[in-house]
């Protein structure tokens, strides 16, 4: 075969091989191009919503906007949670820009003791996407989205699939455009998160000034007719006890002040949900939790 024909045929042959492999191979567990696209879209989109879910990873893994509204609802919702997010001025200002300017509006605030610690207030995860330059944002927003069809494959996953090997270790994270991350972990270990959290609170306890700033924001936003709904995202009893003992955060005082500022506080029973690591909800529990949350806020959006 001459070079001319090789130039003509190498792309079609590659396409055939690609399509055949795509049919045979299992769908990869993680699509990182799509993951980056979802985060950048969450951070840099200017779209406004009726319902926002804000907070840390317990929120972006625990509140699925799809379950917040009826299928035929005229409203829209998004999850604006970030890893280790804290209620800093910068983050709250970002949130304020994403709520609709009029109509029925609700901001769901996941409040954990970690939310007001100096480390959380740095909002490093949020900043890592917020601080990207225009070219990077443009690339991720408009080009990376197309890479959804081209995920990276892992030989290990393929091996497990074809050998029917029992999967002993897996961290599943499926990123959704609405900001939610469907997640679970194998093995299931509801104590796994305790040690890192114990370390997280060393020299890093809740900052009273940050609490005050946040409560002022609640007051200001509530005054605009926006319902601010606060709750402690469900985890495990052991985790709650650990956080309460180490964080320096007083929930009962906070809840009282939150209500005084016009906020609505909701409580949820821990026994209804399962956490795969002691901190984050298994995706089935996340859906169930969101349904319960939706029932409780129904009156504010009807």
């Amino acid at each position: 075969m001459t070079a001319k024909y090789k130039i003509i045929f190498f792309l079609p042959i590659a396409l055939i091989i690609f399509l055949v492999l795509k049919m045979i191979l299992p769908t990869p567990n993680l699509n990182d191009s799509y993951r980056d696209y979802c985060w950048v879209k969450k951070t840099h989109s200017t779209e406004q919503f009726n319902i926002l879910a804000i907070g840390d990873s317990r929120i972006y893994k625990g509140v699925n906007p799809t379950y917040l509204l009826d299928v035929n609802s005229e409203f829209n919702a998004v999850n604006l949670g970030y890893s280790s997010a804290g209620y800093s001025k910068e983050y709250l200002s970002f949130v304020s820009k994403r709520i609709k300017e009029k109509g029925k509006r609700v901001i769901l605030c996941g409040v954990t003791p970690y939310s007001f610690t100096p480390e959380a207030l740095k909002n490093e995860h949020y900043s890592s996407f917020h601080d990207k330059n225009t070219t990077e944002v443009y690339k991720m927003l408009y080009l990376s989205g197309y890479l959804k069809s081209f995920p990276r494959y892992s030989p290990e996953e393929i091996w497990d699939y074809f050998t029917d090997a029992l999967i002993t270790h897996l961290y599943h994270n499926d990123f959704k455009e609405n900001g939610w991350v469907e997640s679970y972990k194998i093995p299931f270990d509801s104590t796994a998160g305790l040690r890192p959290y114990r370390i997280n609170f060393i020299d890093n306890t809740a900052d009273k000034n940050a609490e005050k700033e946040y409560l002022k924001w609640v007051k200001d936003i509530s005054a605009e007719g926006i319902k601010i709904v606060g709750f402690r995202p469900p985890s495990t009893l052991a985790m709650e006890e650990l956080e309460d003992s180490l964080s320096g955060f007083n929930y009962s005082n906070f809840i009282n002040e939150f209500k005084q500022m016009g906020g609505i506080w909701l409580t949820f029973s821990l026994k209804d949900y399962k956490s795969y690591d002691g901190s984050h909800l298994h995706y089935e529990s996340a859906n169930k939790f969101t349904e319960n949350l939706a029932q409780k806020i129904e009156k504010y959006i009807k």
Binding site: A3, I17, F18, L25, T135, R152, Y153, P155
Partner: protein, 471 residues
Amino acid sequence: MVFNSLEFLIFGLLFFLLWPLFKKKDTSRWLYLVIASFLFYGWWDWRFLFLIIGSGLIDYFSGLWIGKFPKFSKLFLILSLIGNLGSLSIFKYSTFFATALDSLFWKLGVQTNLVANIPEFALILPVGISFYTFQSLSYTIDVYRGRLSPTNNILHFFSYLSMFPQLVAGPIVRAKDLLKQLSKVPTVNALQVWHGIKLIVFGLFQKVVIADNLSLFIDSAFSGSKHYDGPAYWWFVMVAFAFQIYCDFSGYSLIARGLAKTMGYHFKMNFNHPYLSSSLKEFWGRWHISLSTWFRDYVYIPLGGARRGIYLGMLFLWLTMLLSGLWHGANITFVIWGAVHALFLTLERFYSKVQFFRRIPKGLLILITFIQASIAWVFFRAESFDQSIIVLKSMFMFQSSDFKFLTTYFDAMIFLGLAIVIELATLLKRTKISVQSVYKRYNLDLLFISTALVAIVMFRGEGQQFIYFQF
């Protein structure tokens, strides 16, 4: 802009779309190349374009004046050397030298803090400075030696110096090879384009599939996380690193050569399967050939080479290897890496004359050479001298090994295995005529390149910058 990015894909497509329009006339061809190359480089940081322009202007005029004023040729050569090595010293070595001087003065009882006084701009290492500086220097030195006529056209010169495929990470193309090519209208036939495509795709495969997929395993080992230890673990890490750095850098060189070939230019081979070498001397003839030959032609031979007797020859070899180490990075570990190679080369000169060693089978010699290179790589990759000693101790510690890392880094092991298989297949193809004929008869290159392209899409690693960008 890096070759394994979406920006470059768009840039490359646009460049090759318009190339036929501009390549026919000298001025438009050179101007197009210079503008495209400056855009390519400026994408990273446009401010450092002034450094390339400055460095280039010094060499362009030095070359021109060496030709016009032969009486003062040495003066213009010195001007070029000061300009190039000066900017390299400021941007690459200022911290290294300042730290060394501070510690020297401190030992002498004088307290200085030169490091703190280094201007902020000098702390940033401009991408590819070592490459284009050496490339530019070779031009003036060759003009001075009368081996090359200086070009009168500044665009011609800058199209050589800044040509984007090799600008940031080589190969270090000599002016006498490329200037002549650039002065002609490049013609490309289908065979050259196919060769170019093969080089680009295989280069990307080496970088994106092999090197990037090995990086997690190696980076976690050197991050000090201490999850695993023991001789087997560290030998696997170092073998993986040997292939990571090879595939990373060779990949870049192949893409550069492929792009040049598709444009109608020829760059010499920069890597020729170095891990198939049966001696370290042979290794250096196959590894980063454009740099090895640069040091040979502009340092080792001018010093006297092997002509000045065995002991002076050794001294020059050591000097060259130490400089080569320093070229790679402003850190003592790189200098030691050069010294380790010099030591192994010195030993090799002696034992290669012993009859017993001549009888060793070639396969075993290849293995010994690879082990020597892997030991030296410890100093190249380690974060500090102390860490290199710890790693070396672990590699040679006689204790039982825990092989759990093989399952934790299952993916990395698969790609390491693939890299080794590719090298062995190359050896087979080179030595067995029957394999060559099957390869040609069934057009296996077409199948391999198509498969490599699919692998780039489906098995690409997490995007990493090319390692040699930091040099």
